[in-house]
Symmetry: C2
Subunit: 466 residues, 2 copies
Amino acid sequence: MTDSQVDGFQEIDQFFNPKRVALIGASSDYRKLGNSILMNLLTSEVEVFPVTRNRDRVLGVKAYPSLEDLPEPVDLVIIAVAAKYCAGLIAEARKAGARAAVVISGGFSEIGAKGTELEDELVSAAREAGVRIIGPNCVGVSNSRLFNGTFTMMPERGNIALVSQSGALGGMIIYTTRTKRIGISKFASLGNAADVQFSEVIDYLGDDPKTSVVAVYVEGVDQGRTFFKSINDAASRKPVVVLKGGRSEVGGRATLSHTGSIAGSTQLFDGMVRQARCVTAPTLDSLLEICKLFDYQPLPAGRNIGIISNTGGAGVLATDAATELGFHISALEENTRQELRQVLSPMASVENPIDVVASGGRREYRVSTELMLKDSNVDMLLVICGVPTFAGMTQTEHAAGTLEGIRTADEGKPVVGVWLAADVGKPGKDLLEMNRVPCYNDPYMATLCMARVAEYAEMHRSGETT
Amino acid sequence: MTDSQVDGFQEIDQFFNPKRVALIGASSDYRKLGNSILMNLLTSEVEVFPVTRNRDRVLGVKAYPSLEDLPEPVDLVIIAVAAKYCAGLIAEARKAGARAAVVISGGFSEIGAKGTELEDELVSAAREAGVRIIGPNCVGVSNSRLFNGTFTMMPERGNIALVSQSGALGGMIIYTTRTKRIGISKFASLGNAADVQFSEVIDYLGDDPKTSVVAVYVEGVDQGRTFFKSINDAASRKPVVVLKGGRSEVGGRATLSHTGSIAGSTQLFDGMVRQARCVTAPTLDSLLEICKLFDYQPLPAGRNIGIISNTGGAGVLATDAATELGFHISALEENTRQELRQVLSPMASVENPIDVVASGGRREYRVSTELMLKDSNVDMLLVICGVPTFAGMTQTEHAAGTLEGIRTADEGKPVVGVWLAADVGKPGKDLLEMNRVPCYNDPYMATLCMARVAEYAEMHRSGETT
């Protein structure tokens, strides 16, 4: 790191690792954002100073009429009051000790000329005072290990950072992390990005030791070159996955009224993401699913995929998807096939894709997993379980067998599960995911995620930074 | 219906509407399929006669040593004993009154020459005795209103029929219906389809008044022309959705060892599905999701789509997906925009896609839904809810508003929901689905399903059978 990078890191770190936080617009009215944010802050591990002129106490906590009245200096100020008051509060924030402010309030450039004027004033005030601003028109910032400075849920704790242009969409993705149990390290919604830019947050997350993968939702970026340089730099240290909104012409128009940014041509954007050696997520659902695979498993050494299934049809569908997405369904070594033949049912297929058939249980999954992983023709393994209840077996047994096989083989090759049958298979799926084998409900989604991971591995195997 | 069609209908109907069922291979050993099938039959509304030489009672029910010993004639015989015994049982089945037999047992043509011989014997025995056979090498048959003659779960009750070449995959899809609460009318797994063909079951389901949509999983068909004629005929009465396994060359090889059939060229197959005025499902996950939309909602009159969202980013992503999939994002009537402007927040967008913004609640969803549906520029409506908790609102309120808007507009146009935030949004999603507004977790999946429905509507608006 150069000195200026260290400074940049510390500047952005103030947003994610504050000790004392003031909230302007703290409210006891459940219809106000300042109420949701305060509830979130009060369940965080930071000291919280609610600021409001209306009451002495809010949600049972002592409140202060203004930043001037705070008993101690603060590191971060969160602002949730009407747009016209925001610029005036920045100098006060600096006096109160903060060099960082999150402006939740909307009513800035996203609403047109009048708002743009207010946004310009806000930025001027920030430059003058030496305060950095995230927002305005955003959902806020959270650090799952420390505090929730947003009006959305605290994310499930983990290693994936999410930075989103759309606050509400970002907030919604955070909600899904609780159901999907996908862990988040840090979340930032940048809104209009009037001061702190995507590139700065991405630079920071690239250096953040608590973050293993960076997920980005972006509609359009003003400073394209800086953005692509940042994702390129971050991608040399960890995977960066980009979901682009506003790909279509009309979608692009919608972003204009949404965050006020102009979405560029899709093809151009996708090409630049690839040139920056990052990968794209084709759909909302796939964004975190791709990140989960990056987070849980090592990178593959090549495109030779092994497939194990107990459901012929699912093996067929996975093979279709893998072939379509550029994988090779490797021919297995003679030795692998012979050993499989000894263990599996006579009805089983010992050619890739392996079908252990419905009678295949814990032992069959263990042996197939181990042998496939040890086979030098297999770079990554897809394990499918479709039938949970034959002969009283459960998908948990199949999952346990898979885990045993991975441990015995100890090859460091990526393994992915497709655990079908929805909630019926959930205990098996949970067992695998708790052991960091990512599981998917659909062979296509699993294969898509593997394709993105293979793509990233290839781009970074080939060497030099572009 | 011609006379021969009536006969065909009655022949297949014996499999789905038996009164008395005998199970050969009934077992009290939980590791045997004959145990799972018996448990399923005993919780059905048919009279069950377990047949086994081993015991007098199985699972507490009187068992018979052979079909000859049954006290009454039966309509259907289910066979789950070793392959070599199956052919010999067919004449006995006929003597016991049955003209229909489901052969669950594997070990026939799917294992090679020796099995093919047994399969030929089985078919000869059936032709000679005048018994129709489903299978062998299959999971069985169920009718959610009457009985479960499979070793998989009883499906959730509903209107979608599923016919699957892969038994295990079909069984797995049935499992997901319980979690997804997608209702099934009848399920048949055809396995090797040695006697009863896809085309016959599809003809039957096309005529079945309890079935509104037919879902087909097929790997390859021996009698292609008959298959496509049947789906074409059925599609003139109700939508038929086809998922094809074995699209890739290697996938095709996998089907050979799986069900012994040869998968044809993908492009050719897809083209023939379209020519038969049916639609394809691109992935396993999408098969029932597409059927759900067909089942719940009317067909659209055109490709003009209206989009409502409270999450700008999700509106942008839905617009992208809709544009990519061939929808027009209609310009709304002047009147619609004016009325929306009066009701929605000044921050809201009243151009399609409408953004009611985070403060939009029950009222805003109600009014937007009503106005959009009444707008003559809108043929179908996509309603997205991404942010559940602003100001204490719940996604249930948004769902309630949407339902009110649909009732007030009363336009008979299809409406689809995208309910984000995973389990947090589940109560709202459930409320919509209980009222037959299908909901999806991802804008892309919702739009994909709408595209298939629009495609079917277009093919059938244009008139004549091809």
